[in-house]
């Protein structure tokens, strides 16, 4: 069957104007494709105006003349400085750091001690604040690192323990901290020493923190955090390093929290250890969860609400902690997405009912041919440096003889507890070919995939890429080698948009550093534009472009399968591993899947297709391997395998 003649270039389904910001969340920017610049400006405005409104109102507050409310507003601003950073840890990365008051305490004491001159000669307050920030960064990392090893509940407990420890140290270390008596907070230099002055300082910093955290949230770092939270295995396969990303975030959040602590000490003018209660930690934590994960605006509103609530009425003040907890419970049970989800009207708009997936050849060509023949290293950035890099890679690749090109497994053995899942497997994936892998359940198909993707380490045998050994047990490195994959059960981030999910695949292509992203420097913008365009091309290629801005969990199962393929395509992979992509697909969708796979392989990608659908295998594969009980039963062209007697009986049992 000739695939190319059947894959006519169809016009991509027009964006129905369903683009727009992800509601009030400001979360993970979406829809701002380079091809829709008008939309882009509209969406940015829609995302930004709530913040402008809040901060404008806040700025006008002191003019009302009520000092009391100015103090409350200052406190809210300080809390927000801490919460904005913690939001990345809790809301985005999903790490339940409940004891964060520890860092507030730390920052407050460091600033106060340095400004008062108990240990070293007195420092100007701003310098003390900076030192506190540095201390906060270090301790933020210390508090956060256990998260990499501990399960959710354990980590939460550990942060609680840490919070208790810090308070106790503050009590005990009397020479430095003044123990139970406490010490005075730093006095900010004029004009910040008045109530209004301090307020505007804190407000300014709060606005700055909002910008910084929003920049991170909307970048590949933010998407990477959510990926770690909700689809860790897939994140790993895309090359997202949990250790590196979490470390950066913990340091950043720690800095912000400590600075907030210093400002807090200034606001209180005098601090004692019991100013830093467990209830305060809970307030920060709940503010984020009430606000909603994956959002900036939600937690901001949450912080404001929780700070203001006790001030509205006396009984509320007494019961405030109870109310916080009650709100948390209600949110968890009734609206787990928080305020952000409630305000997200866009995602409640119905999706077109009888939509169909229509893959398209032209965007696929555009995507995969973009950087010449090079795969996997097709980076973003200006073409000149790209070509130079391609050249070196290209030449390295060309030096490899044809016979060694591709992924090859040789006599691989892998057992689990005495049972050999793979028992002497030899297999080769050639670039530009579709290689089918079939066999009854338990024959080792998925295990083979997992060995190639690096999750399992074979006990015997070799695994090579282009002749060089591929390190086992390191799934993180596969993306860099140009190996992408999909999963038996789609692993996607339900709460993020379809486009964001696809952009995850291209994380490795980003070159802007954390700081550049923080400050939205030009390199970050170039990264973003390029990645967005590539992701959009990938979505068009698989036929899901109309759903680019929809929340991924609203998609049907078959659409999720194509979504995973789009995510893999953004990597411009040299090798694509597909784990039962046809499961749950309708007949027409299976046909389109087949065409898509053939087309991808025509661009030189080597495809390994693990499947149960015998007809799909026999239709599109150039080469088929049949596994049974971890061994190769048959190996050859589809026609050869189809005739093989043992294959038939292996399927029928006996």
């Amino acid at each position: 069957m000739s695939v190319d003649s059947e894959l006519q270039t169809r016009r991509p389904i027009a964006m129905t104007g369903a683009g727009g910001a992800a509601g009030a969340g400001g979360a993970g920017a979406s829809g701002g494709q380079a091809t829709h610049s008008g939309h882009h400006r509209n969406e940015d405005w829609r995302k930004v105006w709530p913040f402008l409104a809040i901060f404008a109102l806040a700025a006008l507050l002191p003019l009302a003349g009520n000092n009391y409310w100015t103090v409350i507003a200052t406190r809210a601003a300080i809390y927000w400085i801490l919460v904005s950073g913690l939001n990345l840890v809790v809301g985005y990365a999903g790490q339940l750091a409940i004891g964060y008051v520890a860092l507030l305490t730390l920052g407050a004491y460091i600033t106060s001690v340095l400004a008062a001159g108990n240990v070293l000669p007195p420092m100007p307050p701003f310098l003390a604040l900076i030192c506190a920030g540095i201390g906060g960064g270090v301790f933020g990392l210390v508090v956060g690192l256990p998260a990499l090893r501990l399960r959710t509940f354990y980590f939460a407990m550990a942060t609680l323990g840490f919070a208790t420890i810090v308070t106790q140290i503050a009590l005990a270390w009397q020479d430095v901290t003044g123990g139970g008596i406490g010490l005075s907070g730093p006095a900010m230099p004029a004009p910040f020493d008045s109530e209004m002055g301090l307020f505007y300082l804190c407000l300014g910093l709060a606005v700055l923190c909002t910008l910084l955290t929003a920049n991170i949230a909307r970048s590949r770092y933010g998407r990477g955090l959510i990926a770690i939270r909700d689809a860790e295995v897939a994140a790993e396969a895309s090359g997202i390093s949990k250790v590196r990303l979490l470390s950066l975030i913990f340091i950043f959040a720690g800095v912000l929290a400590a600075v907030a602590g210093g400002l807090f000490a200034s606001l209180q003018t005098y601090i004692t250890p019991d100013a830093f209660t467990f209830e305060l930690s809970v307030l920060f934590f709940i503010a984020i969860l009430i606000g909603g994960r994956g959002s900036i605006l939600g937690p901001l509103l949450g912080t404001i609400i929780l700070t203001v609530l006790p001030e509205l009425a006396a009984p509320l003040a007494a019961w405030s902690n109870f109310l916080y907890a009650l709100m948390l419970l209600v949110i968890v049970l009734a609206a787990p997405g928080g305020i952000a989800a409630l305000l997200d009207f866009r995602s409640r708009r119905p999706l077109p009912a009888n939509r169909r997936i229509i893959p398209d050849a032209a965007p696929l060509d555009r995507l995969l041919s973009r950087n010449g023949k090079e795969h996997g290293r097709g980076g973003v950035g200006d073409d000149a440096s790209n070509d130079a890099r391609n050249h070196t890679n290209g030449s390295a690749r060309n030096n490899v003889s044809n016979s060694a090109a591709g992924i090859s497994l040789h006599d691989v053995v892998l057992g689990f507890g005495g049972v050999r899942a793979i028992d002497g497997l030899t297999l080769a994936i050639t670039p530009g070919q579709v290689h089918g892998l079939i066999g009854p359940n338990g024959s080792g198909k998925t295990t083979t995939l997992n060995v190639i993707s690096g999750y399992y380490r074979p006990q015997e045998g070799t695994l090579r890429l282009d002749g060089a050994p591929l390190p086992a047990g390191q799934p993180l490195l596969r993306a860099a080698h140009g190996i992408a994959r999909t999963y038996q059960t789609p692993r996607i981030i339900g709460e993020a948009s379809v486009l964001d999910n696809v952009m995850i695949g291209g994380t490795l292509h980003g070159q802007a550093s954390f700081v550049e992203t923080l400050l939205r420097l030009p390199r970050h913008k170039r990264d973003d534009t390029s990645l967005r365009q590539a992701a959009y091309d990938a979505l068009q290629a698989v036929g899901l472009a109309a759903l680019a801005d929809a929340r991924a969990d609203r998609l049907q199962h078959s659409e999720l399968r194509f979504l995973e393929i789009a995510r893999a395509l953004v990597l411009r992979p040299a090798f694509l591993l597909l784990d039962e992509p046809a499961a749950g697909l309708a007949a027409e969708e299976i046909r389109q899947l087949g065409e898509l796979i053939r087309h991808i392989s025509r661009h030189g990608t080597g495809v390994l297709l693990v499947e149960h659908h015998a007809d799909l295998i026999f239709d599109i594969c150039d080469h088929v391997t049949v596994l049974n009980l971890g061994r190769v039963l048959a190996d050859g062209t589809p026609a050869q395998v189809r005739e093989h007697k043992e294959v038939v009986s292996a399927y029928l049992g006996g």
Binding site: M157, F162, L171, N321, L329, P336, Y456
Partner: protein, 285 residues
């Protein structure tokens, strides 16, 4: 001094072990680690003091009333914080729902009962000095609970059903065991155990609302050390923790003993995330 360390260490250790068992009992049938475990310990003391000193009930009646009160809390935990969350796909929600409930319990107690530790009366007039009731009662209570659980799990059908659900939830369901009812009962049982821990340690810890957070953490350490769901590990871990803590208290003093415990906790967890007696679970890809 050694005598003091052993007496108070074993007593506190017994309390920690019981709270650890409370955690484990809730976990076994639901795979949920509930923040209410420590609060139940706190309620054991607070309700006991309330019924005996404020209401004037005789100790045995106050004990029953306390257990009933705790049972209700256990029931509410399952109904409100666990059952709704088990249905959803999001794993971490139970941490939040049980945390919220625990905080609510703590706050209500703080407001209604007060934030000052209240006295807890003597129950028996047996023993003094190192063998004072406040030292031996928690240990005896712990021993009785452990023996009682052994009997329950080995000799009664309900107990065997608990074990079955804990080991293989799906197979238990397929076999027709009433999974939901068993879960509810295990939460009630766990709550009663927490209540016993609090009641027996009333003299030692006083009726104090802040005991909840304290027990939450120190009751969790035996679970972390002993392995999730492992009652024997919790028992050994709890006693060891109690002794270690009191030894540190007496030798280096309050703050440093807390730090010592915390550092020990972190170090052990990082080295052996599944606990010293627990079993590792491989990651599913």
């Amino acid at each position: 001094m050694l005598g003091s360390i052993i007496a108070s260490g074993l007593a506190m250790g017994a309390v920690y072990a019981l709270i650890g068992i409370t955690y484990n009992t809730m976990f076994a049938t639901s795979r949920v680690m509930s923040f209410t475990a420590g609060q139940l310990g706190m309620l054991g003391g607070v309700l006991g003091s309330l019924f005996m000193l404020k209401v004037g009930l005789p100790p045995w009646l106050a004990f029953i009333a306390t257990l009933l009160g705790c049972a209700v809390v256990g029931l509410v935990t399952e109904l409100v914080a666990v059952r709704p969350v088990l249905k959803s796909l999001d794993q971490h929600l139970y941490v939040l729902s049980t945390l919220a409930l625990a905080l609510m319990i703590q706050q209500v107690t703080a407001i209604e009962w007060g934030t000052e530790p209240q006295p807890f009366p003597r129950l028996f007039n047996v023993g003094s000095g190192l063998m004072d009731e406040k030292f031996w009662l928690p240990v005896v209570a712990c021993a009785l609970v452990v023996l009682g659980l052994e009997y329950l799990y080995r000799r009664t059908l309900v107990g065997m059903a608990f074990l079955a659900v804990a080991e293989d939830n799906f197979a238990a369901r397929a076999l027709g065991l009433p999974e939901r009812r068993l879960r509810v009962w295990s939460y009630v049982l766990a709550a009663a155990i927490g209540g016993i821990a609090g009641f027996a340690s009333g003299q030692l810890m006083l009726a104090f609302f802040a005991n909840g957070t304290l027990l939450n953490f120190y009751g969790f350490v035996p679970v972390a050390l002993g392995g999730l769901g492992n009652n024997r590990g919790a028992l050994i871990g709890g006693l060891a923790l109690g002794l270690f803590q009191q030894a540190a208290n007496f030798t280096v003093g309050g703050v440093f003993s807390s730090i010592a415990v915390f550092v020990l906790f972190i170090v052990v967890l990082l080295a052996v995330p599944q606990g010293l007696f627990g079993s590792a679970t491989a990651r599913r890809v």
